[in-house]
């Protein structure tokens, strides 16, 4: 439009109205002024609200802190463990846990252990360990001890705790080769804890892709995916896991076996997540904003990823967290049965594999100690997952 007519003249100021008008702009919230707290609450984004709600769930917060700590410890296992994973102490086979003492002859000596003395019971031929209470041996802290390769790369000798000079420190006993159980449990945490996270990442991806395809496209894609999930969900998992992991070739390297096992765990785990993705997508794709995006020419991948997924991502993450413990347990069970990971890769299940023979365990009860971290981690994940599920819908 061309401007042929001269611009309209600015209106002449109106004559003042007879009644008073406040010149300040009108504040719509004047009737109920928000406090600073309320304002913060109303302005907060979705994730921030979730965090606030999660924080209120005490057991969940404690569990999350515990999990953070224990995951962090896997980064520095070499510093925490007093011994190496594979060091054998031929003189101390099946040694019982050494207790840490503080008082010797009534005087405070700081943390120390008594030296272990081994004798053979001539009747049963079993090894009997006794503490030699005349010789207190001081435990060393922040010290240089057994050599290790930090993450298989940098050589080092630093440990938080070291055995006394010329003595031993087996706070969780030793196994049939005289390896320190505590150090082995610390190193095994690396494998046991990561297998849950990597496994869930794989299963999450599978669930997103397959559930997404089924939910968005519907039709025959949906039917096929639905049938697969039905079959997988209705079939008992353990026998299938056993069959699949028995199928991993013996010739594979331990690392490949590790990834193979995580893949196997993920393969049977995705259906329940996938179903959740599908049903949510089915309902969300009918929303107006999905239609609007489609009209504007957005590709399916963009619509799913950018517009639909964020709507229920928090739920997905919460339910994924709740299925991590079952993954850790599954790996433990498989390794316990001897079909999972194999030495030299060491997980808690591999350690428990030594506790299969009840007659050995009855004499050496400390072989069952790896059960403790398994149960603690599972409980922590349960609590944290519960808290996350409650927090996942902050507007409720």
């Amino acid at each position: 439009m061309t401007d042929t007519t001269p611009a309209a003249k600015p209106e002449a100021p109106r004559p003042p109205t007879p009644h008073y008008v406040n010149p300040a702009p009108w504040d719509p919230y004047v009737s109920e002024r928000l406090t600073a707290d309320q304002e913060k609450y109303y302005m907060a984004g979705q994730w921030k609200l979730m965090w606030w709600r999660f924080r209120r769930h005490r057991p969940a917060v404690v569990s999350a802190a515990f999990l953070l700590l224990i995951y962090f410890s896997t980064l520095i296992s070499e510093w925490i463990a007093p011994y190496d994973l594979h060091t054998r102490h031929a003189k101390y086979i099946f040694a019982p846990p050494q207790s840490v003492h503080f008082f010797h002859d009534g005087s405070f000596r700081g943390p120390f252990v008594y030296a272990l003395k081994m004798e053979r019971d001539l009747d049963t031929l079993q090894r009997v360990y006794t503490e030699d209470t005349t010789k207190p041996q001081q435990i060393r802290f922040f010290c240089s001890g057994a050599k290790y390769d930090f993450w298989e790369m940098i050589e080092g000798t630093f440990h938080f705790v070291c055995p006394p000079d010329g003595g031993t420190l087996f706070i969780a006993g030793t196994d049939r080769l005289g390896r320190d159980m505590f150090s082995r449990i610390v190193y095994a945490a690396r494998i046991s804890l990561t297998i849950g996270v990597i496994g869930i990442a794989l299963s999450f991806t599978l669930a997103l892709v397959l559930g997404g395809l089924a939910g968005y496209y519907g039709g025959w894609v949906d039917s096929v995916v639905q049938r697969i999930t039905e079959i997988l969900k209705s079939f008992p998992h353990l026998p299938l896991w056993l069959a699949l992991s028995a199928a991993l070739p013996v010739t594979w390297s331990p690392l490949l076996i590790y990834f193979g096992i995580t893949l196997i765990l993920a393969l049977l785990d995705w259906p329940s997540l996938g179903r959740a993705v599908r049903s949510k997508l089915l309902s969300l794709r009918e929303e107006d904003y999905a239609l609007a995006a489609q009209m504007m020419g957005a590709k399916p991948a963009r619509i799913i990823g950018r517009h639909l997924l964020p709507g229920f991502m928090s739920h997905l993450i919460a339910s994924a967290t709740l299925s991590i413990p079952s993954m850790i347990l599954a790996e433990t069970a498989l390794s316990f049965l001897g079909l999972g990971l194999r030495p030299p890769i060491t997980s808690w299940g591999v350690l428990l594999n030594e506790a299969t023979d009840i007659n050995v365990v009855a004499v050496n009860w400390w072989l069952m100690l790896p059960v403790v971290p398994v149960i603690l981690v599972i409980l922590a994940y349960q609590f944290m997952g519960d808290g996350m599920r409650d927090a996942a819908d902050p507007y409720a």
Binding site: F235, L242, A355, V361, M368
Partner: protein, 332 residues
């Protein structure tokens, strides 16, 4: 209704077919076969005609044929109740597993009955006594039951039984009864030995069931019709049984679909730990030695039982809940 049942049964056939094929291929996948390890053993002993014997054995087990041929041969045999030869002792699979399957089914049925009875009683009690000591105790037990994996529980129980009570709780009957025909004394012995495995396998399922029943019943108890009933002066027990319980009981039946695979998985690992003469240890052994016929038969039977169990649970659900109708609506 009849139409629905027929369709479900027809659908079972391709499902089982696919499962059996997958399982057969997976077990056969790793290099080598069940003869390899036997021959290695003979070679190690210095048997001169071990290699000659290998060919003989392979021919006996049909391992000289292709995988596809062997699979269809096995499937065709199933219809004649012939599950092929087991590699381990050159015995027909059917002879090897008969009693084990029966014992497994007995154990699993007992476990499900245990889960139902215990979680029903505890769940109803916890819901009607909300926020009282009993409720908290029940919730706590439920949580521990969920968190402690059942095979670890089995090891711990085994240890406690052995060290503190001098019991050996492995096995499913006293040694005198093994290979004896069924009798009253044997039945008593089996039931006694069943208690521990049933409790161990049942804990996690019971825990989940208690939680669900409690939540459902609590929801129902808040509703208007309960208040009305109370106002009319119905005795509390009669009111509870007559109305809210009937609504809340649905998950019991519906959940057998979840419960059954869980119980079967649990029974496999627990029976390995407790060395019960059920299918678990034999399946594990068969998988480790690549005894394809034996392992695949086990897995197929497990799959069949699961599918039938699911069908029964769906039908029960329809019978119990008048809101569910089959066949009336067309599938979307």
């Amino acid at each position: 209704m009849l139409h629905y049942v027929a369709r479900r049964i027809l659908l079972m056939i391709p499902t089982l077919f696919i499962i059996s094929a997958l399982v057969y291929v997976i077990i056969d996948l790793p290099p080598g076969d069940c003869v390899t390890s036997q021959i290695d053993e003979l070679l190690a002993r210095g048997d001169p005609d071990a290699l000659h014997r290998a060919d003989e054995l392979r021919a006996l087990y049909g391992l000289d044929h292709s995988l596809v041929y062997r699979y269809f041969h096995w499937v065709a045999g199933i219809f004649r109740w012939d599950f092929g030869l087991s590699c381990q002792d050159t015995v027909p699979v059917a002879d090897l597993i008969g009693e084990r399957i029966v014992l497994t089914m007995v154990m699993e049925t007992a476990t499900i009955a245990f889960i139902w009875i215990v979680s029903f009683v505890i769940g109803v009690y916890a819901a009607t006594h909300q926020y009282q000591v009993g409720d908290y105790v029940a919730s706590f037990i439920g949580f521990v039951g969920l968190a402690v994996p059942n095979f670890l529980l089995a090891i711990v129980l085994l240890y406690v039984g052995k060290v503190y009570f001098g019991l050996s709780i492995g096995g499913l009957m006293d040694p005198d009864f093994i290979d004896k025909p069924m009798s009253w004394a044997k039945f008593v012995s089996v039931s006694g030995h069943l208690i521990i495995p049933v409790v161990v396998i049942g804990t996690s399922g019971t825990a989940g069931m208690i939680r669900r029943l409690r939540a459902n019943l609590l929801d129902e108890l808040q509703k208007q019709y309960v208040v009305t009933g109370r106002a009319k002066g119905l005795p509390p027990l009669k009111l509870l049984i007559k109305y809210p319980l009937r609504h809340a009981i649905n998950p019991f039946v519906a959940d057998i679909g979840h419960l059954l695979p869980e119980v079967i998985s649990g029974s496999v690992i627990v029976s390995v730990v407790l060395s019960l003469p059920t299918t678990g240890p034999m399946l594990l052994g068969a998988l480790k030695t690549q005894d394809v016929n034996l392992a695949a038969t086990f897995l197929l039977i497990v799959a069949t039982l699961t599918v039938i169990g699911m069908l029964i649970s769906d039908l029960l659900l329809a019978a119990l809940d008048p809101r569910i109708r089959f066949g009336a609506t067309s599938e979307k």
